[in-house]
Symmetry: C2
Subunit: 224 residues, 2 copies
Amino acid sequence: MHRVAVIGLGRFGLTLASQLGRNGVEVLAIDRSGALVEAVKDDVAVAVRLDSTDEDALTAQDIAKVDVCVIAIGENFEASLLTTTIVKKLGVKHIVCRAQTAIHAEIFRRLGADEIIQPETQAGEELARKLANPHLEDTIRLGDGYSLIELRVPKAFLGKSLEQLNLRVKYQVNLVALKRNSPPQSGSVGLERIYVPLPGEVLQPNDILVLVGSDAALADLPKE
Amino acid sequence: MHRVAVIGLGRFGLTLASQLGRNGVEVLAIDRSGALVEAVKDDVAVAVRLDSTDEDALTAQDIAKVDVCVIAIGENFEASLLTTTIVKKLGVKHIVCRAQTAIHAEIFRRLGADEIIQPETQAGEELARKLANPHLEDTIRLGDGYSLIELRVPKAFLGKSLEQLNLRVKYQVNLVALKRNSPPQSGSVGLERIYVPLPGEVLQPNDILVLVGSDAALADLPKE
Ligand SMILES: Nc1ncnc2c1ncn2[C@@H]1O[C@H](COP(=O)(O)OP(=O)(O)OP(=O)(O)O)[C@@H](O)[C@H]1O
Ligand SMILES: Nc1ncnc2c1ncn2[C@@H]1O[C@H](COP(=O)(O)OP(=O)(O)OP(=O)(O)O)[C@@H](O)[C@H]1O
């Protein structure tokens, strides 16, 4: 995506615009607040103060030429809807809309949004998964029914080598990497190493196993 | 985490409380809005309408007994600060605070927050990474310098078997899984399968490779 327009520079839009700009993407940042336009102008190619419900103003910025337009307006639903409709009409190829709820999301889709972001809802789901599974350091869904998880080494595995444990055959999971913490030496903080272990590697307390497999296989692993 | 208190039932807090409750965690959901307490009460163990800046009211709910307290108040910074101070004083073990900016986050940490969530900022960073790297379907940092990526199969790999490609030796990356899309049949939508491929698997157009390796090794892979 070489050229991205970001409309609405609240915390979501401002972070998005400045991170993209700093990573070499050509960004057109738009907000009706002069202060926010000012705040972002050093990070982006073009920062413009305008009202995005004004079709002529958007056309004057050549918004149809961007690869992606992100409508990051949050609270102002009416402005967000009008802007989506205008941008769709002007022929922008890929439209990402921020929505407050699933019902708002459905409305944006019907108006032509290709992708929906719900920062607050998604953050709530993510924290819920993390708190509901404390023995998992992290869980990533790879696709239907497959996940990557980070699991604290179960007691039953301590002192055994990966070869002895034979995880692929016994549990149908793939050990992708090992995270090992070395304890802090006086005056320094402990160090975390991550690496692809050899079959002879013996598991130690505090090791974290990075595993991939079907959700059913991962659920069958011993938890502690 | 068996018992979690969620204070503030905006979109972030409400999603968090109801998802936790539906996943078998004992949730104490708190908000000063009766309507929101009502909306969540079927999903959680206890839903209470109270003002979280009222220390007596929080004490009456035995908030000190929870494993984690999440302060999900967004706009109302003063209430969020007061609540954090009270909850810390009452001895809650693990406090998660929602913060609007990095400066707010620093204040919460000094008042005793163990963990900070910034939904809007984090969503902005995540979308920026995704838009800045379109050939990557997804990227997950596993730890310093190691990542998991999903890469659309480069043209140079098409028609070759995994054994021929010998990714571990030639590129020092570990192919963890393959995502393969079968095209839609008339009247049905296409199907995505994800599986751990055998060495004889021949790569096809639209395949997605799920790979793990050091960031340097991953950056050396052909991109198209
Ligand atoms: N018609 C409009 N034209 C241009 N910018 C607009 C328009 N309406 C709203 N905005 C801008 O959109 C930005 C984000 O919207 P708003 O502040 O409503 O959302 P928010 O939910 O508070 O954002 P965040 O949660 O990302 O901080 C604001 O900076 C506002 O000035
Ligand atoms: N002192 C308080 N005691 C209890 N609840 C409170 C207090 N102050 C605010 N809240 C509640 O916190 C909730 C979330 O806060 P607020 O609406 O300010 O944030 P928000 O940023 O709009 O939330 P979200 O983005 O998650 O939708 C609201 O439902 C509000 O009623």
